[in-house]
Every structure is written in structure tokens, then in C-alpha cells.
């Protein structure tokens, strides 16, 4: 991300500030779709930011997508923005039409598999189960990432055919289960996955998306905590005047800054060679995930009992951080991958590995 907030971030910020207010977030948790927010983002071309214009997208880069997701995370936007961007990107790259409306993709867990078998000459039969699919019940379409023999294939399925089992993450965002068994999809809705668009690649980009959202939410924690500490008075003065509180907030600023720097590193790396991208995304997801836990603890400590109420909106950010850090692989998943790569590269090449990033 460049220092001057890019135009796209400013547009996003204006929309989220007006339309992702705390009541909207609370209603979304009760199951009421934030239609005005979604339509405005769609009209502004943000929901398909990294999808080529020829496919109806915003024609931007992944860096643009990350910039928007950072802002979305700051405002706890209760919509499948990352999911729609990524699903749209796969559809366009696999030469399938990109429908309007919210999208999601399944499976998200790279260890789950959906298999495709030919059914007659004109259709495919899907089998397998995908757990914790984000926003499946609210999406118009689900992009299914599967295997037909050795090949990676993609299917575009109307969500109304799937009847997902409802689940939620800690922030009340839908994370649903889909059983594909017996679902039959027409040939015109199935294609070979575009180059580098299989489920492992989506898992990687999903991890970066969540890291970007976490970096935004951490900045929100800082904003809320600094504001609260300036207002809340105890012992005859604002608690922001106590050195203990100042040092907490300084540490929180450090967590927010490191998460953002790690996300920026991964965003740059994604434009380069794939191996470097995996390394940098692992760094970003692990680092942002660790900052999420530490940052949330500080923000709650500063807010006292007030921050533990449903009425205060601090939990919009902290419950998301506690969920997002474990989605698309938690810190241990990514740290182990990093550690294995470092060990395989060897002690004497450690510095080269780090200085190349």
C-alpha cells in the first residue's frame, strides 16, 4: 500500500463510514443482510476489485483488493467482500461468467476435497462436503473448487440449490456447511481452473485477505482505545494520562503497525514468483494473527468492563480478530510451514532467505 491512501481506499472508507454503522453490523449478526451497503460497494466496483473489466470487474490488482479489505476490516463490514473478490477472480480466470451479487467459494479448507465425475455426456456429478464456508447462505452463487481426476476444475453453482447448514464464527459471520453429494451441474457451468487458481492458491489468497482485514481491525482497536482513554476519567484525570495506559497503547500501535507491514510485504510478494508469495503470505498471516490476539487483549484491558458489554462496539472488531486469526490457517499452521522451509533451506542460507523477501 502506498502511503497516500489510494483513491480506492478513500472511496471504500466513505462508503463503510456511512453504511457499515454499528447497528448495521448488529442487524447482520441477527441475519439481516446489509443490502444498502452491498449495493453501494457493487456500484462503486469494489466487490470485484481484482477482476478484469472485460469480465465485469473493477480491473484492479490484488494490491487494490488488499487496500479495500484493510478498510473493510477497520469497519467490521459484515459482508463477503474477500470471498466475492476471490470467487470472481477465479471465475474470470477460468473463463466462466461472473454473476452479480455476493459470491463465495468452497471448500475453504485446503485439506477438504470436492470431486467431479462425468454424468452422462453433458453434466458433472459432485461429491464431498465443505465446512465453514463463509457466507454461503447469503451468497447468490458458490464457486466450487474441485478435482476431476488429476485436473483442477471450477463450477459455478446457484446457492439456492445447496441448502447450507448454518454455522457462525465468533463474530456471528456465517460459516456454513455444504454437502455436495449428488449435486449435478451442467457442463456450461464447469471449466478447468485457470492457471494458479486451484484451491491451494485460493487458501493462500484467503489467508492474505484475512490478514489484511485483521490489520484494519487492529487499527480500529487503536482508534477506539486511544479515544476511550482520552474520555474515561478515573482518579480525577483521563486514564490516557497514566503511564501504564500510555504504554499499553504504544504496544497496541506496535501490533497494528507490524500486522500492516507484514500484509504489505505479502501484497508486494504476490506480484512476484509464487514461492516467494507463499513465504510472505505465511509471514503475514502468522504475524497478523499473533498481533490480533495481543492487540485485542490490550484494547479490552484499556476499555475495562465497558468494552465487555454488547452495547459497546469494541467487540465488532475483537470478535472478528479472534475468528479471522484461525480462518485460512492459524498461526501454528503458517509458522510450521515457514519453519519447515527455513529448516530445509538450512542454517547457513537463513540470511539469504530473509534478505530476499
Amino acid at each position: 500500500m502506498s502511503r497516500s491512501h489510494s483513491i480506492i481506499s478513500e472511496v471504500a472508507e466513505r462508503l463503510f463510514r456511512d453504511l457499515a454503522e454499528p447497528e448495521v453490523i448488529n442487524r447482520a449478526e441477527e441475519g439481516i443482510w446489509p443490502d444498502a451497503l452491498w449495493r453501494s460497494l457493487e456500484q462503486a466496483g469494489l466487490t470485484l476489485a481484482p477482476v478484469p473489466e472485460t469480465a465485469g470487474g473493477g480491473g484492479g490488482t490484488f494490491a487494490d483488493a488488499v487496500a479495500v479489505l484493510h478498510v473493510a476490516g477497520r469497519f467490521a463490514a459484515p459482508i463477503p467482500l474477500a470471498e466475492t473478490m476471490l470467487a470472481g477472480w477465479v471465475l474470470a480466470g477460468s473463463r466462466l461468467g461472473v454473476p452479480k451479487g455476493p459470491l463465495t467459494f468452497a471448500p475453504v479448507d485446503a485439506t477438504e476435497a470436492v470431486t467431479f465425475e462425468p454424468e452422462g455426456g453433458l453434466e458433472w456429478r459432485l461429491s464431498g462436503t465443505a465446512h465453514r464456508v463463509p457466507w454461503a447462505r447469503d451468497a447468490g452463487h458458490v464457486v466450487v473448487l474441485g478435482e476431476a481426476g488429476e485436473a483442477s476444475v471450477v463450477a459455478l453453482v446457484e446457492a439456492s440449490l445447496l441448502r447450507p447448514e448454518a454455522g457462525r464464527n465468533l463474530a456471528g459471520e456465517p460459516r456454513d456447511t455444504i454437502h455436495f453429494d449428488g449435486l449435478v451441474v451442467g457442463r456450461d457451468k464447469v471449466a478447468a481452473a485457470g492457471p494458479g487458481m486451484g484451491r491451494h492458491s485460493l487458501f493462500l489468497r484467503g489467508a492474505l485477505a484475512r490478514a489484511a482485514q485483521m490489520s484494519g481491525a487492529l487499527e480500529r482497536l487503536l482508534e477506539l482505545s486511544v479515544g476511550y482513554a482520552g474520555e474515561r476519567r478515573q482518579f480525577g484525570r483521563a486514564i490516557a494520562k497514566f503511564q501504564a495506559i500510555q504504554h499499553y497503547l504504544a504496544a497496541l500501535a506496535g501490533h497494528a503497525a507490524t500486522a500492516r507491514a507484514a500484509v504489505d510485504g505479502a501484497t508486494s510478494a504476490l506480484a512476484g514468483n509464487p514461492e516467494a508469495a507463499v513465504f510472505a503470505v505465511a509471514v503475514a498471516k502468522a504475524r497478523a494473527g499473533e498481533a490480533a490476539g495481543e492487540g485485542a487483549a490490550i484494547a479490552h484491558q484499556v476499555h475495562g468492563a465497558m468494552g465487555f458489554t454488547y452495547e459497546h462496539s469494541l467487540h465488532h472488531a475483537t470478535r472478528r480478530l479472534w475468528s479471522w486469526r484461525d480462518e485460512f490457517g492459524g498461526e501454528s499452521v503458517w509458522n510450521i510451514r515457514l519453519g519447515e522451509q527455513v529448516a530445509a533451506t538450512g542454517a547457513d542460507a537463513l540470511w539469504s532467505l530473509i534478505a530476499e523477501r
Binding site: 500500500m1 502506498s2 502511503r3 487492529l218 487499527e219 487503536l222 482508534e223 486511544v226 479515544g227 482513554a229 482520552g230 490516557a240 494520562k241 503511564q243 495506559i245 500510555q246 504504554h247 497503547l249 504504544a250 504496544a251 500501535a253 506496535g254 497494528a256 503497525a257 507490524t258 500492516r260 507491514a261 507484514a262 504489505d264 510485504g265 508486494s268 510472505a280 505465511a282 509471514v283 502468522a286 504475524r287 499473533e290 498461526e331 501454528s332 503458517w334 509458522n335 510450521i336 510451514r337 515457514l338 519453519g339 519447515e340 522451509q341 527455513v342 529448516a343 530445509a344 538450512g346 542454517a347 547457513d348 537463513l350 540470511w351 530473509i354 534478505a355 523477501r357
Partner: protein
């Protein structure tokens, strides 16, 4: 004001920077093979005038300075790459380190033309070394409380007082001493001036202070009515608070604020082998993720410095996060690859237990030197508008 947090933008790297890195690595490999040094766990431990002169001859000191002062007109990012390669290799850099990092830039910015001409080319050649003269026996974190006094005399200044924790005063050529020349004023930042002290010519007492490892790096430097000429004043009398704080971004943001225990991380990776168990892999991966991110932030600050900015708050964040990381490397290593730490015999190739021992014994200094963690957090809090 809406608090957004602090950004560390990605710097644009100048062309040819990887060729420079390769050059430095080639030089370091050859020097190491020739036995120039044994890797140090602590970056301030290796003092070698010969090595510093070799770096000077290569054009790797005073890199960013104008050529008329012996500099090489390079960018702060090129200097960054050279310094990080030196530190990662554990090269003996402590002779020239302070002079190249902050004393030279201070003289370049505030020094007289005569001071620049006399000193900067020698620093760039690797033949002139500096000590920092800020802390005093009764003034540590509270720098504004210093009592070392410089009184105007007919032909210069008379300096009386003492400085402590003066690294390498017994081996270096100069110190830049912060002295009180007038009343502090309401903001406590007035009346401070910096003076060039010539260890080889001036009559100062240099008393060794041994650190807890039993090593002699620190000194106490005592001035007993030392008369110095008027041309020893650096910059303008009484306005040195800004001069002093301008050094701090340079002092606090560099790779020495997170690479002090890098040798231990290398030895930990070696000790765990090519196929570590999950616990070891996770620990190594986590430390790597921290290190990669810190390096990115530090490099970003080099980019800000290159753009003429003074990122003091961002530097404080790097120092706060970076030095706590350094400490964590040792604490994690000893749990993941347990061994009783034991200092090696001098001259022996340092093994894991020896590097662990050196790191543990140095740990307290990382979060103290160049401003304590508590001071860093107060600077960040000020940046957040809390003070």
C-alpha cells in the same frame, strides 16, 4: 484527530542494490575465510581497526555523504543493505559503527565546515572512531537532567562533569559530549550544547566499567575543568536538544535493533536439523515471521530517511518491537533446543551452547541501550497524542 496507526510504506529500492549486496557478501565470505573474525553474538563486541579500514577502502563507510567529505553519495537504502549484511555475518564493526551511523551525520548536518573537513573523510576511510557522550551518572533516561557543564572562557570553554556507559572510549578518537551551557527553561530542553572531545589530545580521565560478562566496553569519562577551544562547539550554543533528537531515528531504527541475536537463530536452526519436529518448526517459523516483518519496517525507515523525513516515532516502534524480539530468540531457543548454556573458550568456533550463553548474558542490554523500552513507549504515546 483520528488515530490511524503508523505506516511503514514499502521503499523503492535503487537499481543495482542486489549487485551491491552480492559484492558485500563476496567480500565478507573472503574475509571470513581468511580468518578476519569469529562471528559475534553481540554486534558491539567486535572491534577491528583493520577491518573498518577495509570497509572504508571499499567505499562502505560514509556512504550517503557528499564526495567532498569523503562520502560516496549513495542512498540510505544502499547503506542499509551494507549494514545488514555486516551484522548478519557477525562482522567486527564496532570500531567505526557509531561514527558512521550518527556522529558523522550529526557533523554533516550541524558541524562547521572546518569540523567536517577535518573529520568526515577520516570516518569514511575507517580510521576515526566516535563515542556517544549523553548518559551521566545521574542522568540516564532523563537526558534533559544532565549536569555536565561547559562554561565560556576567554579562549573557549571549560568543561566539568562526567559521562558513563561510554562504549570504547578507551579505543576511540572522539566523543560528542552533551553539556549544559545555560538554563533549561520551561520545557527543560534549553541550554544544551554538544562539544567535540578529543580522547587522544584532551586531558580526560577514562575509567573502565566492566559489564556483567566481565568485558571492558563501557567507560566512565571524567572532565575536570577541561579547557577546550571555541571551535569544539558543534552547531549553535543552547540549541542542541533538536540536534540530539535528530540522531535518534538513526540510532534506533537500524538492523542492529533486531539482529543482535541473529547468530543464535542461525545456530538454533542448525541444532534442530533439516527435518525439525512440529514444535521446533513452529518456533523457528514464528521467529522468522517476526524477523522478516521487523526488517521490512526498518528498511521502510531507511526509505523515509532517504526522503528527508525524521521518523522518530516509527523508529521507536522498531526499537521497542525489535529489541523485545531479540530477547525472545534466546528464551525460545533454550526451550526448543534445550542445552546448558556454556561460554566457549576464546578462539574456538562458537557452537550453539556458546552462542546461547553469550546471548543470554547480553539480553538485559538490548532493551536498555539507545533508549529503554519504557522511553520508546513514551515516544510512541506522544506520537498518538497522549502526552
Amino acid at each position: 484527530m483520528t488515530i490511524r496507526g503508523f505506516e511503514f510504506p514499502t521503499p523503492e529500492l535503487p537499481p543495482g542494490i542486489e549487485a551491491l549486496r552480492a559484492d558485500v557478501r563476496g567480500f565478507l565470505e573472503a574475509e571470513f575465510a581468511a580468518g578476519s573474525w569469529a562471528p559475534q553474538s553481540n554486534f558491539m563486541a567486535g572491534f577491528s581497526a583493520e577491518f573498518s579500514q577495509k570497509l572504508g577502502a571499499r567505499g562502505w563507510l560514509g556512504m550517503t555523504w557528499p564526495s567532498r567529505y569523503g562520502g560516496h553519495e549513495c542512498s540510505a537504502l544502499e547503506r542499509y543493505v551494507v549494514t545488514e549484511e555486516l551484522l548478519a555475518a557477525g562482522a567486527p564493526v564496532s570500531a567505526h559503527w557509531v561514527a558512521d551511523r550518527q556522529s558523522g551525520p550529526l557533523l554533516l548536518r550541524y558541524g562547521s565546515e572546518a569540523q567536517r573537513q577535518a573529520i568526515l573523510p577520516r570516518i569514511a576511510a575507517g580510521t576515526c572512531y566516535f563515542s556517544i557522550g549523553m548518559s551521566e551518572p545521574d542522568s540516564g533516561s532523563d537526558l534533559a537532567s544532565i549536569r555536565c557543564q561547559a562554561k565560556p572562557a576567554d579562549d573557549g570553554w571549560i568543561i566539568t562533569g562526567a559521562k558513563v556507559w561510554t562504549s570504547n572510549a578507551h579505543r576511540n578518537h572522539f566523543m560528542i559530549a552533551l553539556c549544559r551551557t545555560g538554563p533549561a527553561g520551561d520545557d527543560r530542553h534549553g541550554g544544551l550544547s554538544q562539544f567535540l572531545i578529543d580522547f587522544k589530545a584532551d586531558d580526560v580521565a577514562i575509567n573502565p566499567i566492566y559489564n556483567l560478562l566481565g568485558n571492558h566496553e563501557f567507560n566512565e569519562v571524567v572532565f575536570d575543568e577541561l579547557l577546550v577551544a571555541g571551535d569544539r562547539l558543534i552547531g549553535r550554543e543552547g540549541e542542541d536538544w533538536q540536534q540530539v533528537t535528530s540522531e535518534l531515528a538513526l540510532e534506533r531504527s537500524g538492523p542492529e535493533r533486531f539482529l543482535s541475536t541473529f547468530r543464535l537463530l542461525v545456530e538454533l536452526v542448525r541444532a534442530c536439523g533439516p527435518e525439525p519436529d512440529r514444535r521446533a518448526a513452529e518456533a523457528i517459523g514464528r521467529l522468522t515471521a517476526h524477523l522478516v516483518t521487523l526488517r521490512r519496517m526498518s528498511l521502510s525507515i531507511a526509505g523515509m530517511l532517504e526522503a528527508g523525513e525524521m521518523p522518530n516515532v516509527e523508529a521507536a516502534i522498531v526499537k521497542d518491537v525489535g529489541t523485545r524480539f531479540e530477547r525472545e530468540v534466546a528464551e525460545v531457543a533454550r526451550l526448543v533446543a534445550p542445552v546448558e548454556p556454556a561460554r566457549g573458550a576464546p578462539g574456538n568456533e562458537p557452537n550453539y551452547a556458546a552462542v546461547l550463553a553469550e546471548s543470554i548474558l547480553h539480553l538485559p542490554s538490548y532493551t536498555l541501550r539507545a533508549g529503554t523500552t519504557e522511553i520508546m513507549r513514551s515516544i510512541i504515546a506522544r506520537g498518538l497524542g497522549l502526552r
